[in-house]
C-alpha cells in the first residue's frame, strides 16, 4: 500500500485552498481572498444583476400594516404605506437594499474607523476625524434627537428598516465592496444617521481659510490685505434684495453675556477647503407662462458613483412626496409634494473659526483663559487597524472645541464649528415635516429646527407663493471677526450667540416676481448682522440678470437656464484683455487664437476651443498679476484673490501696483502683463483640446477604483456658469417643478438608483444627464399608474 498519493493530493489541495483564502497584496492594493471572491455562487458574480427582478415578500414584527414598494422602468422605488412609521421603515429598507455600502463607508469615514477595513494607510484620516471631534458631535446629535419623542420614533422606524435588510442578507447578497474589502456591515442606529449628517456638514459647511488669511494679513499688512481681499463685490446681486431690516433684537452686549453663559459648555468643529456651489430659482405665477409657480434647483456637489442622491417617491396618508433622499437620512431632502416644492443651495457664511491656545505647559492639561488656567478635557482614542495592532491617540478639548495642530506653523488651534454643537431635537424629523407641509407657514415652521449645514431654502407652492430663506445656525460676530486666527486666551473672542430664526434673511413673493440663489452673499450691507465668507458670484449675478429679462417663463426656460454655459466672468474680463493685445506682434497661429477669442460668445460648449484658449490665457494672466502671492505660496498658505477683484482692478485701477512684477527692475503696466501673459501661453507650440476634453470631467466611484467610475462626460459648462461643471463636481440633481394641479416635476442626476457596480441601474441616468435630458417624475398616488417592473411587499408578522 502507498500513502504517497493521498498525502501529496491532500497537501496540494490544502495549499490551494489556503492560498485562495488569504488576501493578496498586488502592488500596494490588497485583493480579497480569491477563492471566496471568484466563487460564482456567493462571490462577486452574484452581484452581477440581470436587470429583471423577482417580486419579493417579506415580513417584520416592526410593521403595523402592509407596505408596497413598486419599482418602475427606471428602477425608481415608489413606496406606498398606510402610516408614516411604516413608510420610513420601508424607506430605510429600500435605501439599504440599494446603497448599504455607501452608507457604511460614508459614516465610517466620519467616525474615524476606516483603518479597520483599509489598514494603516487610512489611519491619518481617521485620526483627523476623531481630532475634529466628529464622532462625539454625532453622539451629541443623536442624544438631542432622543428628546423629540415622535421624531425619534420615526428615525427608529427608518433604522429598523435598514436593519431588517441587513438581517436577512446572505453572503451572496452582500454588496460588492464588502466582498472586495472583506468585511461585514454593522447594524444601523440614529447615531449613524447623525454621522451622515456630519458628513454633509463637512462637505458643505467646513470651509476654512483662517490660517491662510492670517498669513496674508501678516505678509501684506492691513491696507494691502483689504485691497486684495475685499469682503464683497461692488457689483453684487445678493440673494435677498429690497428688504428693510429692523435693528438686531438684542444689543451686542446682551449677546456677549448670554453667549458666555452657554459658552463654557460648548463643543467643537473642523476644516477642509472645497469649492462647492449650487443654484435654485423660482418664478411667481405672474412671471410664469402657465400661471403657476415654477421652481428649479440644482445642487453642485462632488460627482460620485454611487450618486450622493437616491430618487424616490414616498406615499402615506399624511403626504405624497417625490424627490431625492440621502442614503442615511429619512424623508425626501429635495423635491415636492402635492402642495409645495422646495430646494436648497449652500450658504457660504464662515461658521468655523480657529482660536490659538496658550497652554500652561507641554502636558496640555491646562490652558489660559482670561488670566486663569482652565482644565482641558482629553480623551484617548483607540484606532483598530487592519493587519496590525491598535494605535492610540490623545485628543484635547477646550471650551472652544477640539484642538488641532496646524501642520505648517505648529500652532495649537482650537476649532469652533457650529456643526459640532448639539442640534435642536426637532432636527431629526425636519425633512419629514417639510414633506408634510402644505403651505409657506408650515414650511417655515419645519425650518425652525434646521441648524447646519446652512442652506438657502427655496420654496414654491400651489397657492402661488415663492420664497427664499437663508436658514441655519449663524454666529453673531463683530466686524471682521472670524476672518483670521483668533486669540483663544480671552473669552471676548467668542461668538456672541446666534442670529435668531426670525431675523434670518428671507423674502416672500418679492415684487420682482422671482427668487434665486447661487451661493453669493445672502444680503446687501444693510443686513444688521456681520458675516463673512462666500463664493464667487458670477453665476448668481448672471442668473439674476437672465431671470430679470425673462417673461412668460416656461418649464423649458428654467431647464435651459440650469443648462446655460454662459460665463459672466469671460464677458467681463475678455474684452479688456483683448483690447490690450497688439495683433501685429503675433505669429500666424497666435493671430488665429486671438481671432477665435474675439469671436467667442462666452459660452463653454463642449466643442469650444475658444473656451479652452480663454482658460489658459486667464490662468496665465492671473498668475503673472499675482506673482507676489504665487511666490509666497511656496512657503505659506495664502488665499488666492477672487477673480471679481482682479476684474475690478482691470476695469477701474489700471495703474494698480499689483500689475508690476516684483522680480523685474522695470515697472510693468496692466497692458504689458496682458500681452506678456498671452505670449507666455505659447499658443504657437501647444495643441489645445476642445473644452470638454480640457475640463476632463470624471465621475469616480467612492473608492476611486477606475473600473467602477464613468469618464465620458461631454456636457457644456464651467464652475462659473449656471451649468457649473468642473473636473470632479457638477449639478448632482437637476429638478424643475411646476406647481400646477397635479404638480408636474422633472429631474435627473448623474448616477442611478443602485449602488451596485454590477447592476444595470448603477449609472444608467448618466448619459441622459450628460445630454441635458430630464425625466418626468411620476408622483401619482395611484399605484396602477406606475409601470411596475418589480414589487416588494412588506407585511407585518402575525
Amino acid at each position: 500500500m502507498s500513502y504517497v498519493r493521498p498525502i501529496v493530493s491532500f497537501l496540494l489541495l490544502i495549499m490551494l485552498i489556503l492560498g485562495l483564502s488569504v488576501p493578496i497584496n498586488m502592488g500596494g492594493s490588497v485583493l480579497p481572498p480569491i477563492g471566496e471572491f471568484m466563487n460564482p455562487f456567493t462571490g462577486f458574480w452574484s452581484n452581477a444583476e440581470s436587470g429583471t427582478h423577482k417580486n419579493i415578500d417579506l415580513t417584520s414584527e416592526k410593521l403595523k400594516e402592509e407596505v408596497s414598494i413598486v419599482y418602475d422602468e427606471r428602477h425608481v422605488p415608489h413606496i406606498f404605506a398606510q402610516n408614516t412609521e411604516d413608510l420610513l421603515f420601508a424607506q430605510g429598507y429600500v435605501i439599504a437594499k440599494e446603497r448599504l455600502w455607501q452608507m457604511d463607508i460614508t459614516t465610517r469615514a466620519v467616525e474615524g474607523r476606516n483603518a479597520e477595513i483599509l489598514g494603516i494607510s487610512a489611519l491619518n484620516r481617521d485620526q483627523g476625524a476623531r481630532r475634529k471631534g466628529l464622532p462625539r458631535a454625532a453622539k451629541l446629535a443623536a442624544e438631542a434627537w432622543g428628546q423629540s419623542k415622535e421624531g425619534f420614533q420615526l428615525i427608529q422606524s427608518f433604522c429598523d428598516g435598514i436593519n431588517h435588510y441587513i438581517g436577512q442578507l446572505s453572503s451572496a447578497d452582500l454588496p460588492l465592496e464588502f466582498k472586495l474589502l472583506d468585511y461585514q456591515p454593522e447594524d444601523w442606529s440614529p447615531y449613524r444617521t447623525a454621522l451622515f449628517v456630519k458628513a454633509m456638514a463637512i462637505t458643505l459647511n467646513s470651509r476654512n481659510i483662517d490660517v491662510a488669511t492670517t498669513n496674508a494679513l501678516n505678509l501684506f499688512g492691513e491696507n494691502r490685505f483689504n485691497d486684495l481681499y475685499p469682503d464683497r463685490n461692488k457689483k453684487q446681486s445678493p440673494i435677498i434684495q429690497d428688504v428693510k431690516y429692523l435693528p438686531p433684537s438684542l444689543s451686542f452686549e446682551d449677546r456677549v453675556n448670554q453667549a458666555m453663559d452657554q459658552f463654557l459648555n460648548f463643543n467643537e468643529r473642523s476644516d477642509q477647503e472645497q469649492f462647492i456651489g449650487s443654484n435654485n430659482f423660482a418664478v411667481s405665477k405672474e412671471k410664469s407662462s402657465t400661471g403657476h409657480v415654477i421652481l428649479a434647483n440644482d445642487p453642485h456637489l462632488k460627482l460620485t458613483l454611487p450618486s450622493i442622491w437616491i430618487e424616490m417617491h414616498l406615499v402615506c396618508p399624511e403626504f405624497n412626496a417625490y424627490g431625492v433622499s440621502l442614503p442615511g437620512m429619512p424623508g425626501i431632502i429635495l423635491g415636492f409634494n402635492e402642495n409645495i416644492s422646495w430646494g436648497q443651495t449652500n450658504v457660504g457664511h464662515d461658521v468655523l473659526d480657529l482660536y490659538q491656545i496658550k497652554w500652561k505647559d507641554d502636558s496640555k492639561r491646562e490652558y489660559l483663559l482670561d488670566s486663569t488656567y482652565q482644565q482641558s478635557e482629553w480623551k484617548i482614542e483607540e484606532f483598530r487597524v487592519k493587519g496590525q495592532d491598535a494605535v492610540k491617540d490623545t485628543v484635547f478639548y477646550t471650551h472652544w472645541g477640539p484642538v488641532l495642530e496646524d501642520p505648517i506653523s505648529g500652532l495649537d488651534l482650537a476649532q469652533r464649528w457650529v456643526s459640532l454643537d448639539a442640534p435642536a431635537p426637532g432636527e431629526i424629523d425636519l425633512y419629514i415635516n417639510i414633506n408634510r407641509a402644505k403651505n409657506y407657514d408650515e414650511f417655515q415652521q419645519a425650518l425652525q429646527s434646521f441648524s447646519t449645514p446652512a442652506q438657502n431654502f427655496i420654496f414654491g407652492s400651489k397657492d402661488g407663493d415663492i420664497a427664499m430663506t437663508v436658514t441655519g445656525k449663524f454666529p453673531v460676530k463683530q466686524n471682521q471677526q472670524g476672518r483670521f486666527i483668533q486669540d483663544g486666551s480671552v473669552s471676548a473672542s467668542a461668538w456672541k450667540g446666534f442670529i435668531p430664526f426670525d431675523e434670518l434673511p428671507r423674502e416672500k413673493n418679492p415684487i420682482r416676481n422671482y427668487v434665486s440663489s447661487a451661493n453669493q452673499h445672502s444680503t446687501d450691507e444693510s443686513y444688521p448682522y456681520y458675516y463673512n465668507g462666500g463664493f464667487e458670484d458670477f453665476r448668481g449675478r448672471y442668473i439674476n440678470r437672465r431671470l430679470e429679462s425673462m417673461d412668460q417663463v416656461s418649464i423649458q426656460d428654467l431647464m435651459n437656464l440650469q443648462l446655460d454655459a454662459y460665463s459672466l466672468k469671460a464677458e467681463e474680463a475678455l474684452p479688456i484683455l483683448l483690447e490690450h493685445i497688439d495683433d501685429k506682434a503675433l505669429s500666424l497661429k497666435e493671430s488665429g487664437v486671438l481671432q477665435s477669442l474675439q469671436n467667442w460668445d462666452y459660452v463653454y460648449t463642449s466643442q469650444s476651443k475658444a473656451a479652452s484658449y480663454f482658460e489658459i490665457f486667464w490662468n496665465q494672466f492671473y498668475d503673472m498679476v499675482f506673482d507676489e502671492i504665487s511666490e509666497a505660496r511656496k512657503e505659506l498658505d495664502i488665499p488666492y484673490v477672487e477673480a471679481f477683484r482682479l476684474i475690478e482692478m482691470m476695469e477701474e485701477e489700471e495703474e494698480h501696483e499689483i500689475f508690476d512684477i516684483d522680480s523685474t527692475v522695470i515697472r510693468e503696466s496692466m497692458s504689458d502683463i496682458i500681452y506678456s501673459s498671452f505670449k507666455a501661453c505659447q499658443f504657437d507650440s501647444i495643441d489645445v483640446d476642445v473644452w470638454s476634453e480640457r475640463r476632463n470631467t470624471t465621475i469616480d466611484h467612492l473608492t476611486e477604483i477606475p473600473a467602477f467610475g464613468y469618464n465620458d462626460i461631454n456636457s457644456p459648462g464651467h464652475p462659473n456658469t449656471p451649468n457649473a461643471i468642473s473636473r470632479h463636481a457638477g449639478p448632482s440633481w437637476r429638478m424643475v417643478v411646476e406647481m400646477s394641479d397635479p404638480v408636474r416635476g422633472y429631474g435627473i442626476y448623474p448616477g442611478g438608483i443602485s449602488g451596485n457596480p454590477g447592476s444595470p441601474y448603477y449609472e444608467h441616468f448618466v448619459e441622459d444627464w450628460d445630454k441635458g435630458n430630464y425625466y418626468r417624475l411620476n408622483n401619482t398616488r395611484k399605484m396602477e399608474e406606475i409601470d411596475v417592473k418589480q414589487m416588494v411587499t412588506l407585511k407585518p408578522k402575525q
Binding site: M1, R5, S9, L13, P40, F44, W45, S46, A48, P760
Partner: protein, 119 residues
Amino acid sequence: MKYWIHVAVIFLVGFILCQWLPWWVVSMVAAVSAFLLRSDFWLIGMFGFLAGFVLWGGYAMYIDIENQHLLANRIGVLFGGVSNIIPVIFTALIGGLLCMLGSMLGASLNKSFSASPDE
C-alpha cells in the same frame, strides 16, 4: 460510465452545496464521489477538473451573459485591464483545480484503504 457519474455528482451536489457552504466544499464533493466510485487516479482527476471547470466557469458565464458582461468588464479592468472573458476563465480554472485535486485525493484514499490491511 462511472467517470461521467462523477461529473454528474459534482454538477448536482456541488451546485446545491455551493449555494450555502464555503466555496471549497466543491472539492470535498469531488473527493467523496471519487472515493466511493473506486476509480483511476489520473482519469478521475481529469474528469474532476472537467466537472469543476464547467460547473464554476459555466455558471459564471451564464451570469455574465445575463448581466451583459457589465460586471465582468469592470472586474477585468480591476484585474489589470483584461477582457470580461478572463474572469470567467479564471473562475473556471479555480473550480477545475479544486475538483481535480479533490478527486485525486478521494481516489488515492480509496486505493490506500482498499489495499490494506491484507496486502
